[in-house]
């Protein structure tokens, strides 16, 4: 499959492939960098099938190394600065045989002396396929290592689609980041890398490099609205904003529609385990969507979405297989269904059961985010002897208020918008970020941190 990508890249060597304030490279230069890495890998004696990690965020070098390792049929473990605290742990779980660092001027190689013998690796080596190891965010505790067959993952991109100038939001250690890169390479697109993930920096990059697509998360979009960073930059090049990874707040979606009337806003649905599904939103301001595509089959069991996909992962390195007998995987996402349209309600594991009544955090967050002076809020359950669980909310405010002030305002605001059992009983104020490095709200971790 890598050959298909190389062919595509060779067709237009002078086309801009990747750009940021620090670097830029066209397809010709990217191929040259890749050839250098291919020689380097050979020189260092990295054999086909070896498990190789590399650190380093998006750059011409990291993209070229990723491609060279793929061409060498290696099992690639991309690590980004998002998870630098876990590098040692991740390398151990993946049982990397070689670790490459791109952080200095020259690439550095460490042979770990480990031998990676996992059955899933054996499977990849038998079929002479390059592999990819990604880590789940570990919201339930330990991160799970997901093994993908890169040939299968790349195969999805053989159908020609529109060339786009796409801002990269997620790194190569995330299925969304890999997906964006592969899309761009297969379609003569341009990858735009912002200097950071703050709304300001993202808007600046869109303005400077005429970004057309912004794949991001609801939390980031909410921060974008609050920061008003869009007022200082020209974002008229933006044709499409996609959001995935967590349920969208209806309030955020409505405001986006008003602020960017010319931009299409679309929900995507993907999991590291099965890849990103092609999806279609009913309209820009709708949370209803169709998911699927040729290679995906879905079913709903007890309100939970199950997915079967040709490009699904081979399995976990450190957890039992989550597939049922027919090859469907439980996404853990509760959905509402109306004909062929689906609406994601939230993670099954995040539902708060208040005296037998179900509360989805996203629905409550959506209302709380409409309140004045709220920068962000996460809603989660806490134990309560009377109702089993109660709803708690952790607020990050723009300007200081006492907990009682915000609580009184919240009660008054919510009284005709949410049923009583959904209104948070407990309020916590925080100065810390309420989201993780990938702009995903942290609900579970909150519980342990106060």
């Amino acid at each position: 499959m890598i050959d298909f990508f190389l062919e595509k890249m060779k067709e237009s060597p002078s086309h801009e492939a990747v750009v940021s304030s620090a670097f830029s490279a066209n397809y010709g230069e990217l191929i040259k960098l890749m050839d250098n890495f291919t020689c380097w890998l050979e020189e260092k004696g990295i054999p086909e099938g070896a498990v190789v990690s590399f650190d380093g965020d998006y750059s011409p070098s990291s993209i070229a190394l990723f491609l060279s390792l793929t061409q060498n049929k290696n099992i690639v473990v991309p690590l980004s600065q998002d998870s630098y605290r876990h590098f040692v742990e991740f390398r151990e779980i993946a049982s990397t045989e070689f670790d490459i660092s791109l952080l200095g001027d020259e690439p550095r190689l460490i042979a770990t002396g480990r031998e990676a013998k996992h059955d899933l690796y054996k499977k990849l080596r038998e079929t002479k396929s390059p592999g990819l190891v990604l880590f789940s965010s570990g919201s339930t505790g330990k991160s799970k290592a997901i093994v993908q067959d890169l040939n299968k993952l790349m195969g999805k991109f053989s159908k020609q689609r529109k060339p786009l100038r796409m801002l990269i939001f997620l790194q190569l250690d995330h299925i969304g980041g890999v997906n964006s890169l592969l899309y761009s390479l297969a379609n003569k697109g341009t990858v735009i890398v912002a200097d950071g993930r703050s709304p300001e920096k993202v808007c600046k990059a869109i303005d400077n490099y005429k970004g057309e697509v912004l794949p991001t998360s609801p939390t980031f979009l909410n921060l974008l609205i609050l920061s008003k960073a869009y007022e200082s930059y020209d974002l008229t090049s933006l044709k499409l904003v996609t959001y995935g990874t967590e349920p969208m707040q209806e309030s955020t979606l409505k405001r986006l529609g008003t602020l960017f009337p010319e931009t299409q806003i679309q929900q995507t649905y993907g999991l590291s385990e099965v890849g990103i599904l092609r999806s279609k939103s009913k309209s820009s301001d709708s949370l209803w969507m169709k998911v699927g595509g040729e290679e995906f089959t879905t079913k709903i069991v007890n309100g939970t979405l199950w997915i079967k996909s040709d490009s699904a992962m081979l399995g976990y390195l450190n957890a039992p297989s989550p597939f049922d007998d027919e090859g469907f995987l439980d996404t853990g996402d509760m959905v509402e269904q109306e004909g062929e349209w689906l609406r994601i309600l939230g993670r099954k594991s995040e539902i708060i059961n208040v005296g037998g009544l179900k509360v989805f955090p996203a629905e409550v967050e959506s209302v709380l985010l409409e309140m004045d002076n709220v920068e962000d809020v996460v809603v989660f359950g806490e134990d309560n002897p009377i109702t089993g669980k109660m709803v708690a909310a952790k607020f990050k405010l723009n300007t200081s208020e006492t907990p009682r002030e915000i609580k009184a305002r919240m009660f008054a605001y919510c009284k005709d918008k949410l049923q009583p059992y959904k209104i948070p009983s407990k309020i916590i104020l925080t100065e810390d970020d309420t989201y993780n490095e990938r702009f995903k709200r942290m609900r579970r971790l909150d519980k342990d941190s106060h």
Binding site: G355, I386, F411, C414, P420, K426
Partner: protein
């Protein structure tokens, strides 16, 4: 903490709960106000929220007691019946915690 101070905290919690209610449904702030159970103003969801609020105010005065626990639930006569019984119950818990 004097009983009068405890009562103030309970009154403040009633006023807090009133933010959730329409004008004609507001709970009267008085010692006789029935809170939970027969003729009580609060349902179980309302009680949870109300007790958390009282607990938080007590915490602000450095008093750590738990109101919504097994003990309170298993009393033959619920301490949550009205403002007076709740005041007495909190007073009892505070004195016990100092022993």
């Amino acid at each position: 903490m004097e009983k009068a101070d405890i009562q103030k905290i309970i009154f403040a919690a009633i006023e807090m709960a009133n933010n959730l209610r329409e004008e004609d449904e507001k709970i009267t702030v008085s010692v006789q106000t029935a809170l939970y159970g027969q003729n009580g103003e609060l349902d179980s969801m309302g009680l949870v929220s109300f007790l958390i609020d009282v607990e938080e105010s007590l915490q602000d005065s450095n008093i750590q007691i738990s109101l919504s626990d097994e003990r309170a639930m298993s009393q033959t006569k619920s301490p949550f019946r009205n403002v007076q019984t709740l005041t007495d119950y909190i007073d009892l818990l505070i004195r016990e915690s100092m022993e």
